[in-house]
């Protein structure tokens, strides 16, 4: 006998309780603190802050804890928090030339003013599991710190710019459109594309930029410069009228140098691809720069042959919160639509079943001719 589905309310409450229990895990093992996540899983925190569009390591760590370590769920939590925050104002553009450099590398010049600094990187680690960490016996070696005063570190691409070998970065002082407050209109301007890419799912961008370098896109980039470190944020309060520093954030910036064969109006020159991320998320900054350049194909008059160069395709599908929401909505009931399809399929099959006799007669007719 059919019993109408009731009790959804209790099921939801129980699901939440079960979830909390699973998240906590074995109670004989000490609970993970938000401070531990913030300090010991900083790259996970950086990803959540970057895609969540909020620079707050503590809240990002809290989101990771609440989400049982699921980055996409944590990003969603932070976004839903962000959406209710009031806007106090807009900062001045960040000046990354004044960054307190912690890492700076260039794939285009062996030496350059300010020098290269390897910094903290997994790049040259041999990926061998460190079993001392498993035994909780870590004894980190203290790094040699160089106490030399920092030299000025001009941006590498500006050195090329002096020679006129690279395109001028178009200057635009208008306030960029905020894609979290206004709908996007295609074709989207560069500021909108960059905002979208910085908030984009890291995995999706990584794979798209990989594709663009493997032939599905006309990409031949050099990593002109990657730098990470602390940058001051300045704000001009209305009542003061001059900028004051409101804090520092850690960020990573990447500038890619790409070939450009020139057009009717422009001689051959290098072009730019720019990427940035919160914290030390270098992979993200690089893929933003690669995709930013790929999506400039149209404005540079290059042929748009691949999805990686197609604004509407890329930008409409980058957001992990949207993508996850729409894919996961398939878990919601679709009884009614499915019932409609069932009725339709049955009807089509019934009609198809009536047809063989008809087509057999036709064939027989043909044979007779």
């Amino acid at each position: 006998m059919y019993v109408a589905v009731k009790g959804g309310e209790r099921a939801i409450d129980n699901a939440h309780a079960l979830l909390a229990e699973r998240r906590r895990g074995d109670r004989d093992i000490a609970e993970l603190s938000v401070a531990q996540i913030q300090n010991q899983l900083p790259l996970a925190v950086d990803r959540v802050m970057t895609e969540g569009s909020v620079y707050d390591p503590e809240l990002a760590a809290l989101a990771l804890k609440q989400a049982s370590g699921d980055a996409v769920e944590a990003i969603f939590l932070l976004r839903a928090y962000r959406t209710t925050l009031p806007r106090f104002g807009y900062s001045e553009p960040l000046d990354s030339e004044t960054m307190q450099i912690e890492r700076r590398i260039s794939g285009t010049f062996k030496d350059l003013p300010g020098g290269q600094t390897l910094g903290a990187t997994y790049d040259y680690t041999h990926r061998l599991l460190d079993f001392t960490l498993l035994a909780e016996g870590e004894q980190p070696t203290k790094p040699d710190t160089d106490e030399r005063p920092l030299e000025p570190c001009p941006r590498v691409l500006e050195l090329l710019n002096k020679e006129g070998l690279i395109e001028q970065s178009p200057k635009d002082d208008s306030r960029p459109r905020d894609i979290t407050r206004e709908p996007v209109d295609y074709p989207a301007e560069r500021a909108v594309r960059l905002q979208n890419l910085v908030r984009a799912d890291e995995g999706f961008l990584l794979s798209l930029s990989y594709a663009s370098m493997r032939g599905y896109g006309d990409s031949h980039p050099f990593a002109g410069e990657i730098r990470s470190g602390q940058v001051a944020i300045e704000l001009v309060p209305e009542e003061l009228g001059f900028p004051i520093v409101v804090g520092d954030i850690a960020m990573t910036e990447c500038e890619m140098v790409n070939q450009f064969h020139g057009s009717k109006t422009e001689p051959p020159q290098f072009t730019r691809g720019y990427g940035v991320s919160f914290g030390y998320n270098e992979r993200k900054a690089m893929t933003v720069a690669l995709m930013e350049r790929a999506l400039r194909a149209e404005e540079l008059g290059e042929a748009v042959n691949y999805p990686t160069q197609d604004q509407e395709f890329v930008l409409s599908h980058t957001d992990c919160v949207s993508a996850n929401g729409f894919v996961s909505h398939l878990k919601l009931p679709h009884y009614v639509d499915f019932q409609s399809e069932l009725e339709m399929i049955r009807r089509l099959r019934r009609e198809a079943g009536e047809q063989p006799a008809h087509s057999q007669a036709e064939q027989a007719g043909e044979a007779a001719v």
Binding site: G8, Y186, E312, V336, S340
Partner: protein, 288 residues
């Protein structure tokens, strides 16, 4: 009134509500036209009703009575979740009775009981663009709407007729609103399409992650696409609802055992309950 601390009435801040209400006004003024709006990120996932929720949050007031249905039922988990969200963030009264509700947020169904002027029906819309599966680009479909270039959809429907002998779209069936804009009624079964036509209630449609709002004002003509020789028709069932005996409502098929036996019941749970109560009242009277 129970409201969640730290959040505004109905979650969204007043500026955002005002922006959404402006979009709604524009949508009402141009029936069937998709108005872009600054859709916010909601604490529920995209595709789970964030568009409908933003519309509801923008029009709901303290005097409203809210009903939320999913697949016609008040007791499906997502309907419960959304109803709770508004109960928590607004403290307004909620109801399962279609007749008592001033606002009805719905996913995939239009209630069987005819709605009245003064009620508002708010649809959750996943993909607001009726032409999306014919033309993926928004920049193109916008032009097609501007030029009223809807031939491609007629061709698609014609291809169905050529292949199957009739139009094979069973839900999300496209309509023309006020003789001007092509509109998707959201993924309701085509069974519900006739209810949209000249409905006395205001119909609002919200698509969250696509950031579009559109509307059908009361008593507006809504015509399902068809051909003169292949007129629009709705689904029919051979049996009746096995609970209330209805022979005119949309029926869900329920599998009752592992031999595949099945029964059909009303998808609109409130309608079914109402009919059942009316029948038992009549039975009591007869007994007396």
């Amino acid at each position: 009134m129970s409201q969640v601390d730290g959040y505004n009435f109905a979650y969204l801040d007043e500026q955002t509500k005002r922006m959404i209400r402006r979009a709604i006004l524009k949508a009402v003024a141009i029936p069937g036209y998709q108005v872009p709006f600054g859709g916010r990120e909601m604490p529920l996932p995209h595709g789970w009703g964030t568009g409908g929720m933003q519309v509801t949050a923008s029009v709901i007031g303290t005097e409203d009575r809210l009903k939320v249905i999913d697949q016609g039922a008040d007791d499906t988990t997502n309907a419960i979740s959304i109803r709770r969200f508004f109960a928590r963030t607004t403290g307004v009264e909620t109801t399962e009775k279609t007749a008592d509700a001033t606002l009805i947020q719905t996913r995939h169904r239009v209630p069987e009981r005819p709605l009245e002027n003064g009620q508002i029906l708010i649809y959750q819309v996943p993909v607001p663009e009726p032409l999306r599966f014919i033309e993926a680009r928004d920049s193109e479909t916008r032009k097609m709407h501007a030029l009223r270039e809807y031939g491609a959809m007629q061709v698609k429907l014609y291809e169905d007729v050529a292949r199957f002998g009739h139009i094979a779209t069973s839900y999300d069936y496209p309509v023309m609103v006020n003789g001007r804009y092509m509109m998707t009624p959201s993924p309701i079964p085509k069974f519900d399409n006739p209810k949209l036509d000249r409905m006395p209630a205001l119909q609002l449609f919200g698509a969250g992650f696509e950031k579009r709002i559109y509307a059908v004002p009361p008593y507006t003509e809504v015509k399902s696409l068809d051909f003169d020789d292949h007129p629009f028709e709705v689904q029919q069932w051979e049996g009746n609802c096995e609970i209330c005996g209805s022979d005119h409502s949309f029926l869900d098929e329920v599998i009752t055992d592992d031999a595949g036996s099945k029964m059909f019941v009303c998808s609109d749970t409130d309608y079914c309950r109402e009919r059942l109560e009316a029948q038992s009242a009549v039975a009591e009277e007869v007994a007396l």
